[in-house]
C-alpha cells in the first residue's frame, strides 16, 4: 500500500498515493483540469500551459500536469487567477488557429472547442488585419494527414512516436510561431501503431485519411467493444453512423492496450458492414434452399440432431463469441465430439513502449476462448473427422469446404460459398450482440451491442441455446451458465467483467 498524501482540490479532500500528479489527483476530486499536452500514456511535457492552477502558498500559478501532490496542499483550479491564466492560453492558441470548424473533422470532439466554450473569451482581440499563419496540408504517410494551420504544438504526436512507438519520425521543426510538426522526406509515418497520433491530437490537425469527412462527431453512436483484428484484445469504441460502422477508436484499458490500438485493428471494421448476410433461416428441400421462420428452422435442426448418432464435428470461427462457442459444445455434448478452428496468421508488430502489447500474429479475437472451451487448432484433423461425422456444425466460416457423409448445419453471418448445407441459419455479428472474447492472456472481456440485428439474424448463443433443454434468456444468462460449468470462467459474470474484463483463474469475482 503506497504512502498516501492528503490534499484539498477545489475544497474537496482527496487521498492519493505519493507521487501522484495534481492533474490526476484532481480527477479523484471530480475536477477536470483543462489541458492539451498532458496525456496519461505519454511522458509529461508541460508545454501547452493550459492546466495552470493556483496552489496556496505558491506565488506563481503551477501546471497541474507536472506538479506532484504534497501533504496539506490546497489547490484551486477555478480561482480568478487560474481561470484568467487559462483564458489567456486559449486566446493565444486561437490567434493563429483558422476558423475551420465547419470543415474540420474534429468539430464536436475537439478539446479546443470544448475548453473555449468553457473558459475562453467570447471574441478575439487579434486584429482582423493580421493574416493567420499558413502552411499547406501535409501527407505524412499511409493514413495520416497533417494540417499545420490547426496545430497547437502540444507535441503529443511527437512524444508518442518517440517514447511509445520508439520510432521518432516526427519532429518539431523551426522555432517560435513558425514552428510546425515535421517529418524527414526519407521517412514516412508508417509505423504499425502510428494511427494513434490522430486520436491523441486534441484538435483537427492530425487526421485519418480513412475517416476524412465521413461523419460528424455528433452523428456517431458510440459503443464499447473489443477489437477483432487479433488476439491482443485491445479495448475499442465502435463509432456508428446510422448503423454503419465508420470508425474504431481505442478505449482505455490499462491492463491490455493502455490508450492505443494498432493501425490494422483501427482499419478492421469494413467486414462489419458487409451486406452479403444470410437474411433468413434456409432449409434444404431437395436441391433448393427454402426460407423459413425460426420455429421451423429450429425444428428442422432438432430433427437432424435427434436422428444422428456417433460423432459430430464443430468447425468454428475464432471470431464467434465465447457464449456461442460454449452452447455449440453443450449442444453436441452427447456426441463423440470434435471442435476446431483455424485462424489467419500475420506478422507481429509490437508497440515497444508498452509492455505486452502488440499486433499479434494470430489475427482473430477469440482463439483463446475457443481453446478454453476445448476447441482444437488442428483444423485438418477435424476436417478428416468430419468426413465420417453424422453432424457437422459450421459456425461463421463461409469459406470452408467440408466433405462429409453427414448433415451440415451452417450458422453464420455471411452466406457460405461452397458448403453443401442442409440448413443455413443467420447469425448476428459481434457488432449486433452482447458477448465476450478471451484474449491471448486469458483476459475475458465484454463487448456490447452497437446496433440491432439485421433481418432475421440472432446471436449464436440464442440459436444454439434454443436447442438445449434450458434456453438462456440473455447473453448475460448464457455467460452465467457457462461460468457455472467451465472452471476457467468460474466466479465471473457480466457484472464482474465490467468494461475492462478479468483474467481467468482470478478467483471468485476478483478483478485481476
Amino acid at each position: 500500500m503506497a504512502d498516501l498524501v492528503n490534499l484539498t482540490i477545489d475544497e474537496v479532500q482527496v487521498s492519493v498515493p505519493k507521487g501522484t500528479l495534481v492533474i490526476e489527483a484532481a480527477k479523484q476530486a471530480g475536477v477536470l483540469v483543462p489541458h492539451y499536452c498532458y496525456h496519461p500514456g505519454l511522458p509529461v511535457a508541460g508545454v501547452c500551459r493550459m492546466c495552470l492552477v493556483e496552489i496556496e502558498k505558491t506565488p506563481k500559478l503551477q501546471i497541474a500536469c507536472a506538479t506532484q501532490v504534497a501533504e496539506g496542499m490546497v489547490v484551486k483550479t477555478r480561482s480568478g487567477q487560474a481561470k484568467s491564466g487559462r483564458t489567456g492560453v486559449l486566446e493565444l492558441l486561437l490567434i493563429n488557429h483558422p476558423l475551420d470548424c465547419p470543415i474540420c473533422d474534429q468539430a464536436g470532439e475537439c478539446e479546443l472547442q470544448d475548453f473555449t466554450f468553457q473558459e475562453g473569451r467570447p471574441s478575439t482581440r487579434y486584429s482582423p488585419t493580421y493574416p493567420k499563419r499558413f502552411n499547406p496540408v501535409e501527407d505524412f504517410g499511409p493514413d495520416v494527414l497533417y494540417v499545420p494551420n490547426r496545430c497547437i504544438l502540444c507535441t503529443r504526436c511527437v512524444r508518442f512516436m518517440e517514447d511509445v512507438a520508439k520510432e521518432p519520425v516526427l519532429n518539431v521543426s523551426e522555432r517560435g510561431d513558425r514552428a510546425f510538426i515535421g517529418v524527414h522526406p526519407d521517412a514516412q509515418l508508417d509505423h504499425p501503431w502510428s494511427g494513434n497520433v490522430v486520436d491523441l491530437c486534441p484538435v483537427g490537425s492530425l487526421l485519418s485519411k480513412d475517416f476524412l469527412h465521413k461523419a460528424r462527431a455528433w452523428e456517431l453512436d458510440k459503443t464499447a467493444s473489443v477489437c477483432t483484428g487479433c488476439s491482443q484484445g485491445c479495448n475499442v469504441t465502435l463509432d456508428l453512423r446510422d448503423d454503419t460502422v465508420v470508425r474504431i477508436r481505442p478505449r482505455a484499458n490499462v491492463e491490455v492496450n493502455r490508450y492505443f490500438i494498432c493501425d490494422h485493428g483501427r482499419g478492421h471494421y469494413r467486414w462489419m458492414n458487409r451486406g452479403d448476410r444470410v437474411e433468413a433461416p434456409l432449409v434444404k428441400d431437395g436441391t433448393d434452399l427454402r426460407a423459413v421462420d425460426w420455429d421451423e428452422a429450429l425444428d428442422r435442426v432438432r430433427t437432424i440432431l435427434q436422428g444422428a448418432g456417433g460423432s459430430a464435428v464443430a468447425l468454428v470461427s475464432p471470431k464467434a463469441s465465447t457464449e456461442g462457442l460454449y452452447y455449440a459444445r453443450k449442444l453436441l455434448a452427447r456426441f463423440n465430439w470434435t471442435g476446431a478452428f483455424q485462424v489467419v496468421m500475420g506478422e507481429e508488430a509490437p508497440l515497444s513502449g508498452v509492455p505486452n502489447l502488440a499486433l499479434r500474429a494470430e489475427r482473430a479475437p477469440n482463439g483463446k476462448g475457443a481453446e478454453l472451451l476445448g476447441y482444437s487448432r488442428d483444423y485438418a484433423a477435424a476436417l478428416k473427422a468430419a468426413e465420417q461425422a453424422a453432424v457437422v456444425l459450421v459456425i461463421d466460416d463461409p469459406e470452408t469446404a467440408v466433405k462429409t457423409s453427414g448433415q451440415v448445419i451452417y450458422l453464420g453471418t455471411a452466406a457460405p460459398a461452397s458448403l453443401n448445407a442442409s440448413i443455413i441459419l443467420p447469425m448476428a455479428s459481434m457488432v449486433e450482440e452482447d458477448g465476450t472474447y478471451v484474449n491471448r492472456d486469458g483476459r475475458v472481456q465484454r463487448y456490447f451491442q452497437a446496433r440491432g440485428t439485421p433481418a432475421m439474424a440472432r446471436p449464436a448463443w440464442w440459436v444454439l441455446g434454443q436447442l438445449t433443454d434450458a434456453a438462456p434468456e440473455s447473453a448475460s444468462a448464457a455467460f452465467d451458465v457457462m461460468a457455472g460449468d467451465v472452471d476457467a470462467f468460474r466466479g465471473m459474470s457480466y457484472a464482474t467483467l465490467g468494461l475492462t474484463g478479468q483474467r481467468t483463474g482470478a478467483g471468485a469475482g476478483v478483478p485481476a
Binding site: 509529461v44 511535457a45 508541460g46 508545454v47 501547452c48 500551459r49 493550459m50 495552470l52 506565488p59 506563481k60 500559478l61 501546471i63 507536472a66 484568467s84 491564466g85 489567456g88 492560453v89 486566446e91 493565444l92 492558441l93 490567434i95 493563429n96 482581440r125 487579434y126 486584429s127 488585419t129 493580421y130 497547437i152 504544438l153 507535441t155 518539431v172 523551426e174 522555432r175 517560435g176 510561431d177 513558425r178 514552428a179
Partner: protein, 426 residues
Amino acid sequence: MGYPQKPHPKETVVLSEYFGDPEARTYRGWVKRGGYEALKKALGMDPNAVTEEVKNSGLRGRGGAGFPTGLKWTFMPKEKKGPHYLCVNADESEPGTFKDREIMRWTPHALLEGTAIAAHAIRAEVAYIYIRGEFTEPWTVMTQALAEANAAKVFGNITIHLHRGAGAYICGEETALMNSIEGKRGNPRIKPPFPAVAGVFGKPTTINNVETLAAVPHIIKRGADWYKSLCLSSPKSTGTKLFSVCGHIQKPGNVEVTLGFPLKDVIYEMCGGMRPGRTLKACIPGGSSVPILTREETEKCLLDYEGVAAAGSLLGSGGVIVFDDSADMVYQIMRLARFYAHESCAQCTQCREGTAWTTKIMERILAGKGQMKDLDLLLDLSENMTGKTICVLSDSCATPVISGITKFRSEFEDYITGKKRPVMVA
C-alpha cells in the same frame, strides 16, 4: 575600461586586467602573469573547502540570475554515485551584453582555470564550455588556449571540452543549454528535476556563467575575505562586475567596477557621457530583459543586485543600454519584441504566440494604425506572458513592453494620435 580603452582610474580592475594584451592569451603568458597558481592550490584542497571559500566570498552568478554561486555548488549530490558535469554558459546573447566575449578572447586561461577549479569543487570529471556559434574569434582563441593548457597538463583529472552552439539565444537558459549539448533542440526543461539532480545526460550538473568562473581563481588566490571586501553598498553584493555599456554613449565598452558603484558615474564619467547636444532619456541596466529606467531612475541607481532592484529594475547580466533623447522608444521596444519572437523555442503557448502578437501590435502602432485600447491590450497580453511559462523568455518580452508603456506612454500615444508620423508600413 576594457579593450580598446585604457582602464579608468575609478575602475576596480580584476577580471579585465589583461584585456587587449595578446600575450595573456598564451599559456606561458598567463603563467607569467600569475595564472594557474590558484588552480594548483585548489586541486590540493578538499572540494568542499573550495566551495566554502567561494560561498563565503559572496560571489553571485554573473549571467543574469545572480544566484549565490557557492550555494549553487552545494546542490550537487553529497555522495558521488556517478559522473558529475560542469557546463560553462558562454552563450552570451542578451542584448546589451558583451563581457564574456572579452573574457574569452583576451583571457581564455582565466576561464579555463576557473572552470577547472569549479569542476574540482563539484567533483565533475568533465566540463563543457558552450560557446555560441557566432563567437568565432573566442572559439579560435579558446581552442588554442585549451590545447596549450592540456599540453601542460594543468587540469589533473578534469577534462574540458568546447561545444559550439549554432544560433539560439534560448540556449543561454541553463536547461536549454544542457539539451543543446545533448544534441537536441534547445528547449528549456521543466523543473523539477533540477540540474544538480538530473542534468546533462541525466547526470548531476552545475551550470555557471563565464564571468562567474573567471572570478573564481581570484577568490581562491586572494581569499574570500578579500572578495567580500569589494563592496560599496549592499553587503549581499560583493566583488566586481563587468558592465557592458553600449548604445547612445561616447565611449562604449566594458567597465569593471565594485558592486554598488553609481550607474551615473559609469555613464557620464567612465564612458564619456552623451553624444554632443544629447541628453539621457532612458537606460536598461542589465540586458534587454530587465525593466527600462527613466533618466531620473538611472541617475539615482547603484549598480548592485539590491540597488538596481530598488531603482525599479534588475542587475541582470549588466548590459547597460543607453538611450538618449533621439531614441524612438516605441521602435526599439518593437525591435526587442521582435528579438524575443525570433528566439522563442515554441514550447509554451504564451511565448510562442505572445511574442509574435506583441511584435505585430507594436508594428501596427508604428505604422500609425494603433488605437488607445492597444496599449491596454499590450499590458494585458504582457501580464498573460508573465510568470506562466517554463522559462522567462516570455517574461523578458513582456518586461520592456510593460516598463515602456508605463514610463514612456506619451511616445506611444504620439503614434496613436498621429502626432508622430508612421515609421513603418503594416
